[in-house]
Every structure is written in C-alpha cells, then in structure tokens.
C-alpha cells in the first residue's frame, strides 16, 4: 500500500492546449503529467494512487474513447474528464455511460475545469478507500477456518444458533464458540458487523432455505 501523490494526467495531441492547460493546473497546485497520445500514456507505469485524466476525445492514433475502453479493461480507477474541440451528444453520452465524470467542450472556463478536477480527485480518493476496505475485509475473511466459513454462511442466511446446531448436527454451545472465534478474527462484536465485512469481502449471500 503506497501513498503516492494525486496526479492530474493531461492527454491532448494539441501541443498548445496541452502545455497551457498543464501549466495552469500546475500553478493551481496540482501534480500534472501531460501526454500527447494515448499510447504514450499507456506506456507509463500505472499510477496506483489517486488522480484523474483530462482526455481529448479527438486524439490522433488511438482516440480518447478507445483509451477509456482500454483503461476500463485494465481496471484503472482514475476518473476521466473528456475535453473536445467539437463534440456531439452521441459521443458525450457514450463517454459518460462508460464512466467519464465530465465532458467539456473547448474552450472551457477555468472554474469548470478546476471543479471537475477536484470532483474527480475526490471520487478517486473515495474509490481508493473503498477498495482498501474491501482488501481489508477479504484478508480478514481469509483467516477463518473452513468450519468457521461454513458457520458464517449459515449466519448470513439468518439462522439462529439452535437452528445452525441442528443443521450441522452439533451442540448449540459449539456453534456459539465458533461464532465467538469468528467475531474475534474479524475484529467485531455483533452479527450485523460480521454481515458487513462478509459483504465487503464479496461473499455470496446464500439463499434462505
């Protein structure tokens, strides 16, 4: 888990736009990296920290939309702000459906780009936090023994201790001991907390019998 700084990536094949926008964002206290093509960006080592991409739609070579698709496939979680010289509704809808946070037509106001960037960065942080929670929950669940996992499944279906004991043909007291061990391993005290961690860890909720 690294603590990289937030980076704003500017990808535009128009040199004048790229340099001016980059300079402005730098002066607005952002870490900025600029690329003249999608290929150049993809060649960079992937950024694991928070950030966002300001992406020109009409790039020469691989277009902005192509890059968006590629990034989705690569599980990149960086929010994208599209910019374009002359866009159309179809293109903007497509881009936004695929998860773009904004779609701006050049020349856009500085307030618009600044608010879009801060929004995007906030989103990026949120996404990173969420993914961290998930990682944590997954690791906790991994500590459980197979028997505990089995009992967790029954807990998730909402069965009482007595019912679980009947199902597994064991003593109710034994179920309670397992439950206490699960709580200890997951670092929680109540059944609702167990359920929340199981959810974050992506455990499939079994259907109630």
């Amino acid at each position: 888990m690294t603590n990289e700084p937030d980076i704003v990536f500017v990808i535009d094949d128009e040199e004048s736009v790229r340099s001016s926008l980059s300079l402005f964002l730098k002066l607005s206290k952002y870490n900025v990296e600029s690329f003249e093509s999608a290929e150049n960006y993809l060649a960079r080592e992937s950024h694991s920290g928070a950030g966002c991409i300001i992406l020109d739609v009409n790039l020469s070579g691989k277009s902005g939309l192509d890059l968006q698709e590629e990034l989705v496939n690569r599980n990149s979680q960086l929010p994208i702000i599209f910019i374009t010289g002359f866009g159309n509704i179809r293109m903007s809808v497509h881009a936004l459906k695929k998860g773009a946070v904004n779609y701006l037509e050049k020349p856009f106001e500085k307030d618009v780009i600044l608010s879009s960037v801060s929004e995007a960065l906030a989103l990026s942080h949120k996404l990173i936090d969420e993914s961290r929670e998930i990682q944590k929950a997954k690791q906790l669940v991994l500590k459980l023994t197979p028997r505990e996992n089995e009992i967790l499944t029954y807990i998730l279906t909402g069965l009482l201790n007595k019912q679980i004991a009947a199902e597994l043909n064991i003593a109710e007291h034994t179920v309670m001991i397992h439950k206490r061990h699960i709580c200890e391993k997951l670092g929680v005290k109540s059944v609702p907390e167990i359920v929340q961690i199981a959810y974050q860890a992506g455990i499939q909720f079994p259907e109630k019998k």
Partner: protein, 621 residues
Amino acid sequence: MLKRGFIVLLSVFLLLFSQKSYSQNKVKNVVIFFSLGSNLTSYQNLLEGFKSTFNQNTYEPGNIIVEFMDIGRLYSEDHARQIIEMYNKKSYETNLDLLITVGPGINALLQKYGQNLLKTSPVLNLDLELPGRISLQDLHVKNGIEVLAKFKTSTTLKNAFSLFPTYKNVFVIGGSSNVDLFFMSLVEKSKTQFEPAYNFKFISGITMDSTIRLVKKIPSNSIIIVPNYNRDATNMTFSTPEALKFISNNALAPVFTISDVFSKKEGGIGGYVFSYTFYGKEAGRIANEMLSGKLPKDITVDENSLYQYIYDWQQLKRWKLLDSKAIPANSIFYNKEFDFFAEYKWYILAVLLFLIMETLLIMYLFRLNKRQKAIVKQMAETDNLYRILAREQRLMTMVQLTASLSHELSQPLTAILYNTQALLEYHKSGEAEPGEIEELLLKIIKDDKRAGSLISSVRSLMKLEVRDKEKVDLNAIIQDTVSIFDPKAKQQRIKIDIHLTKNPVFVFGDKIQLQQVLLNLLNNAAHAMEEIETEKRIIEIDQHIEKSSVILSVRDTGEGIEEEVKESLFNPFVTSRKSGLGIGLAVSCTIIVNHDGEIWASNISGGGAEFSFRLKIISND
C-alpha cells in the same frame, strides 16, 4: 453534227404530229333519221345509248345531227321531201360521213327521196322486222349494216312467270297500230310454249278507257303483258310507257312489257327485255367502226348485248320481289332506291379509315405531347431536385464548415485562455521564472494568429467567386508557383520535374487563384511524401495539350490517396492531415470549376497520387 440530226428528227416528228392533228380536226358528220316522234322513250333510250358509246375510243370525232321524221303523222309528203332534199344538198356541199336510219318506214322514205344520201354515205339501219320492210339491199346500199330488233318474247315471258310462279292467267294488252299489232304477234308466237299451263288472253282494238275498265277487273293473280301501245282503237296516240302507267295504276295484277321503255315511268316490272339503250350503245360502237373506214363485212354485231335483265326497283319493292331468285345477279335496276351505304360503301370506308387514321394520329400526337410535357415536368423536377440538393450541399457545407471551424478555433482559444490564466497566476504570485512570461505571451500571439488565419482561409473560400479573370499564361504561372514553392521543396529534399511546352499556353483566368491551386497541389504532394525516403521524393509537373484544352498534372511518389477519402476528396474539410483545415482541395476545386474547368485525382499504379486539372485554351491573340 449530232445537233443538226436532232433538229431534222424533231421537224419530221412535228410534221407528222401536225398532220395527225389536222385529221383530228376534221369532224365527221353523222345524220340520224328517226321515223317517229322525239317523245318516244324507245328513241330516247336509243339516243342516250348511242351517245354513250359514239366517239368513244376513236380518233374520228363526229357531229350528230338528229332528225325525227314522225312519218306516222306526216303532215305532207312535201315536208318529208324538203327535209331529205336538204340533206341531199348538204351531202354534196358538206361531208356526210354516216347515215343512220331508225325505225319502220324511214327506209321507204329514203327510197323515195334520198337517193343522193344513200349513194354518198355508209348507212346504218336500226329497224323492226315488220312485214313489207324496205331493207338496205332494197335501197341498193353497198356500204351498209342492218341491226334488227328481234324481241325474245318467250324468255321475257319465262322470267315474268318465274317471278310469279303461281300466276297462270296471262293478259296481253296492246294498242291498235300496225306496230302494236306486230308486237302482239311476237307474244302470240311464243305463247304455244307455255300452253296449256298458262291461259293467254289477247286484248287490243279497244279504246284506252275500255282497256282501263277491263284491266280493273283482271284478277290479281294474273300477269299482264303490254308489248306496245302507240294508238288505241280511236286512233288516239299514246306511248307504251304512258299505257303502262295507266294500266299498272289500275291493275291489281303485275304488269310487264318486252322492252326497256318502262325506264323512267311508273308501271312495268321489267324482266328479260329488249334494251333500246343497249341497242343505241351497239349502234354507237358500230358507227365508230364505220367512220374509221371499216367495211361492213369486217364489223361484227353483238346481238346478245341488246337483251338485258332490267327491273324497276320500286315495282319489285311493291311486289315484294327484291329477294326473288328469278332476278339474275347482273341485272340492271331502274328507279333504284338511293342506298347510301351500298352506293358509297368504298367512300364511306375510305372516310372511316381516314377518320380512324386521323384519330390515331391525333392520339399519337396527344400522347407525344403528353410525354413531352411529362419529360419537361420531370426535367423541371430534376432541376428542382438538383437545386434542393445543391442547397442541401451548401447547408451541409456550412454545417461542416462550422464544425471544422469550431474544432479548429477551439484549440487556440483554449490555449490562449489557459496561457492567460497562467499569466494571471504568475501575476498574483510573482513567482514566474525569468523569460516565462514572455514565452507565454508569444504563445498567446501565435495561437491568436492561428485563429486569425483560420478565419481568413474560410473567408477566402467564401470570396472565391468574385474575382476578375484575364488572359494569362499558364506556363508563367507554373514557373512562378514553383519558384515560390522551391524553398520548401529544398527543405524537404523534394526533386521537382517540370515538363512544359516552350510556347506560352494562354487561358482565361485569375493568376492568383490559379497559383493558389497549383500551390495547394504542390503542398499536398510534399505532405504526402513526408513519410518516405528522401531520395524517392519527386514531384512531377506535366503539361498535356488536348484539342482546345490544357491538362496539368502534379504527381507525387507518396502513399497515394486513401480509399476512404477518395470519394469526398474535393469536398471541404476532408483531410488526412492533423494540421490542415481540409479546405485546400475544396478551394482548388471551386477555383477550377469557376474557370470552367475540371479537376480530378487518381492513384498512380506504381505508388503515389496524381492530381490533374483541365482548362480551356484561348487563342494567342
């Protein structure tokens, strides 16, 4: 020599011709003596027939002198003598070429007074075979022909009987004169053939009044024959047609006669009769032959033609005999009802045909007209459609232009905006590096200029049509343009091959605009070769004169035109370059079209593209 021979030949011909016309002018005189009066239908028919054939098919024109002697009622012998004497004299003075004597008694008269006439002329005698008749032989006429009227009464009766097959009573009614009795005797002679099946009664020697009274009593299923009726018992004169009229008007039974004298009067059904008309026709024909110098022994008389089946249409109708099988197909009909359609069948058909054809023609013309209108309409529609399309195209052009412009302009505007924002930040913080402010300002100026040039290029595209043209030398323009382009070519190491004619090639155009076209083509060619090895970079400018136009081609060795843009190459804003606005070829196309020329592009098989345009050459004066 030949000419003289021709003249002689012509004179001989003219001489022969004039002799011929002289003989034609010599009119032959023909005298016809009728023994009885001019009121006789038989004579009228005969004369009519005669005139219809006389002078026909002959080169001997004849002058007919007709004399009705009416000897039956001759007032004095002197009178007759005087008339004949007159002709006797005339025959000496003038040329009497033919004498025709008609009717009983006339030959006897000539025997008495007309010796001169008989001696000098050929004679044609038409007569009845009455007893005691004076023949031409009796008159010692050598050059003469007799055609005697022999009535075939038995055939006449037979036809009448077959018209009314159930009628068995036959009443033969005649006058009292010698001629009347003669005709009666003709019928009487043939009656034996029909007896005893038929019952004949002969009536004559009574007055016309008695005759009419008697006729009224004749039963309707009888047949009445009136052979001839010149006088009744009181010596009152009638004509056969008159008698026929009286009798048939009063009789309930059908009335027949034995000659064609019923022709124009009422009464008498007709049938197989002796025709005076045909008698006259035959006489006319014989007269022609006699006048042309033929001898009697060489002339044949067609006696059969004198007998015809002749009917009175109205009478047939009255007796409901129109469909009778007893009427032969080639019969002649008097008083025939005017049957418009039968009579004018061919005229009507012709008129109908004409009308149909005219109608068809009108229909055809109408359709032609309609089609033409449709074509005109279609052309107008096409024209209209074309205009709409042109407008659409213009509109699309505007949209594309707007799109392209806004895209192209948005870049420098964005750059200017953020460079300015950066400057503002520096201004606030005062933390700018040395030279950085100036750099930003220069960038702003550069971007602004770029935006300005975009606008001016669009403006130039819009301004294209309003330039004055003049006579310019295309070769000079090419040379000038190449010299303008040369530095760029050197920079890119492009070799330029120019093939031009030595003499100037004059076109009517705008020098600057044509330079612009050429420069566009050269720039495109240079751009197309950016990616290839420097040694292979060649631009070839070729000039080709074709009839009254000049074709200029610019060839490069680049990668050729992409298939995708080939179609829309000359449309505005089509570009394969990132930097261009895509209006260069559109401008070039507009300029060439405004010069009444054509511009086109193709790929060269060995690689590279060729852009060509064609302009009209104007003569060197």
